[in-house]
Symmetry: C2
Amino acid sequence: MDIQIIGYIAAFCTSLSFLPQAVKVIKTRNTDSLSLSMYSVFSFGVLLWLIYGALLGDMPMIVANTITLLFALIILAMKVHHRVQKLRYQQQD
Amino acid sequence: MDIQIIGYIAAFCTSLSFLPQAVKVIKTRNTDSLSLSMYSVFSFGVLLWLIYGALLGDMPMIVANTITLLFALIILAMKVHHRVQKLRYQQQD
């Protein structure tokens, strides 16, 4: 079996795995147990992978990391939104 | 700047970013907003990246994905543990 196929399946899994998390966060509006620092550092790391793939001209890396970055940023935005909301409520109390 | 450095920083960020999530899950014992399917598919994908890196003999990929897999499996185990506990409580009710 061509080694590259393993790489493509790996990229497919690690990229699309963030879709169910993004859907869950959007549906439940619950981000309590998600780590803000994880998604901040992770999104930055994926952005670097995307730049790295672009510099190498490696299309699978570009596609996989674009998808992952999209989902990671959706989750990060929801987490930041809830954290800001929480701070506002605490100030009003 | 050597392109490889971007790859190393990216690997460092995406691997270690799961550490704060693992710590948060262990501390708070709250995995409600985490997606079981995300961590199942993600862990499988990272395992494939690890095999892919081993077949290529690519040490940074091996190291980065071993770390990521370790943290992802900790989080997955906690999520599965809580899901099993929840099912038990529901059966007792």
